[in-house]
């Protein structure tokens, strides 16, 4: 009991650390994988042992072994902060005890599965928010994530593999990482591991090989992971060049683009807006450009026709834009006119817009936003995205 009383209040500790300005924010290292079973958690644990042997104070904040024996064995003598038991509707779930990790204040904490959603009643809704708290307290975090959980790749993964992913982590969390290490494994090797029962027990393994763990799926996911990592390296290089006075807006090696390019995504209250925003984000990331997401509130008549459901979709679209780090702009009036005026006044270089859901005859008689917009902007690329199935 006395020990409990002596334990510092984590929020107070966090506030004190922030007020003192000390210590510096903890670093974030992410082990990125293309699929379950490539060895992310295993690699993270190996790194933890290496650091411990060098004398660093390392603890396990939360590691999920998913019943895998090799992973459980790899924990070895690493100190584990016991997880918090959080009852929810009669089922007791285990979540990271963020308060206890902060109170223990190790130099390094291992926190598996960055995209995890906590059970209601936890400190935060998402585990990456807990990781932010640990880093704010000066604790370096080693974490893991699979490529399909990265927000902007959500649509691509679904289209390529047919796999639904319900938990995602915003791209800025990955971008903010000091290091992203790709745990790469050839699809053949991964399938072999699966066959040997190293990932799931034999029955589940057999099913997985017939469903998700096909050569085609694994190759596509690996390709995505390699590209994402390569993009991260490019961005780091670009930051380095800026930091060292290279190419300030004048050379032709991509740094120029970071200063000049601006991608505009036009959204309305339709759920396909999320697909447009993710497409725009990928273009902006590839070009190292700014991303602006614009919503033009229609004239009064059209506005009155919007339903509560429309409002919900609009809020979700703008929230996603915000999470992806886009500048969100709200305008009011005629959609094509307002968009054109904004594009011309703000040096927008590329517009991403959805294909009209109205029929061709309707467009012929009433005109289309896309056509009106294209007539009124000059020297701007317009990407019209075919109507995609809305993602939620």
């Amino acid at each position: 009991m006395a020990r409990e009383l002596e334990r510092p209040d984590p929020d107070e500790l966090l506030a004190r650390i922030k007020a003192d300005g000390q210590p510096a924010k903890g670093r974030l290292r992410i082990y990125l994988g293309a699929a379950p079973g490539v060895g992310k958690t295993f690699s993270m644990l190996q790194e933890a042992h290496r650091r411990k042997e060098r004398g660093t104070d390392v603890v396990i904040g939360f590691v999920e072994t998913h019943g895998r024996q090799h992973t459980a064995e790899q924990i070895g003598d690493l100190p584990v902060i016991p997880p918090r038991e959080v009852p929810y509707k009669g089922v007791i779930m285990r979540e990271m005890d963020t308060d206890a990790v902060i109170a223990r204040h190790p130099r390094v904490a291992l926190v598996d599965e960055l995209a995890h959603t906590n059970v209601p009643g936890s400190r935060h809704e998402k585990r990456y928010e807990d990781v932010q708290d640990l880093r704010d307290a000066g604790i370096t975090v080693l974490s893991t994530v699979n490529i399909q959980h990265i927000e902007s790749l959500n649509d691509t993964v679904r289209q390529v593999t047919g796999v639904s992913v319900h938990e995602t982590v915003p791209d800025w969390v990955i971008e903010e990482a000091d290091q992203v290490e790709l745990i790469d494994m050839a699809p053949e090797a991964l399938i072999q591991r699966m066959r040997h029962g190293n990932i799931y027990p034999p029955d589940q393994a057999k099913r997985a090989l017939e469903n998700f763990f096909t050569g085609a799926n694994l190759t596509a996911l690996r390709d995505l992971a390699l590209r994402a990592t390569a993009r991260g390296v490019e961005e780091q290089l670009s930051r380095y060049m800026h930091g060292h006075g290279h190419g300030h807006g004048r050379d032709d090696h991509g740094v120029h683009a970071a200063v000049c390019d601006r991608i505009l995504v036009a959204v309305n209250h339709h759920p396909t807006g999320k697909t447009l925003i993710r497409r725009g984000w990928r273009i902006a990331a590839a070009l190292k450009a700014d991303l602006v997401v614009v919503y033009v509130e229609p004239d009064r008549g059209a506005r009155a026709a919007q339903t509560v459901e429309d409002e919900r979709h609009l809020r979700a679209n703008l929230q996603l834009a915000d999470e992806l780090g886009a500048q969100v702009v709200r305008l009011r009036g005629n959609v094509a006119e307002e968009l054109a005026a904004y594009v011309n006044a703000n040096q927008v270089t590329q517009i991403v817009i959805g294909q009209s859901s109205r029929g061709r005859w309707s467009e012929f008689f009433q005109g289309s936003v896309t056509h009106d917009l294209m007539r009124n902007v000059h020297g701007v690329d317009v990407v019209v995205v075919a109507e995609a199935k809305a993602s939620t």
Partner: protein, 132 residues
Amino acid sequence: MAGSILLIEDDPTLARSIRRNLTARGYPTRGAMTVAEATAAIDQELPWLVVVDIDLPDGSGWEVLRSLRQDGHTDVRAIVMSALRPNARLAHELDAIGVLEKPFPIQSLLRLIAGQQTPSSPARSADNEVER
């Protein structure tokens, strides 16, 4: 027999959390929130295991088990979750392999499932979901 688990639970957050734990261990899991949805899901594809909450919005989880057994699906395993002390006689009659009285730790459910020998001839899963 098909290769998925059918989770019948009407609280979406709890269902998502349980499904995540199951899919992460390699169990493809489909979801149903009502007796009607569960019946439709069973008609569509027979699961090898049902995990069913007794208190459902349109009836009782026992009804799902009773119709399963009446339809001759005696090899489908069943685990029952209940906030009240579950009826042991019904659990025995309907051949439930496990009864979990709330509150229970998620590990109890995972251990119960891991202890089951799943079918050796899996079919394609209806829910192509792999989380971790």
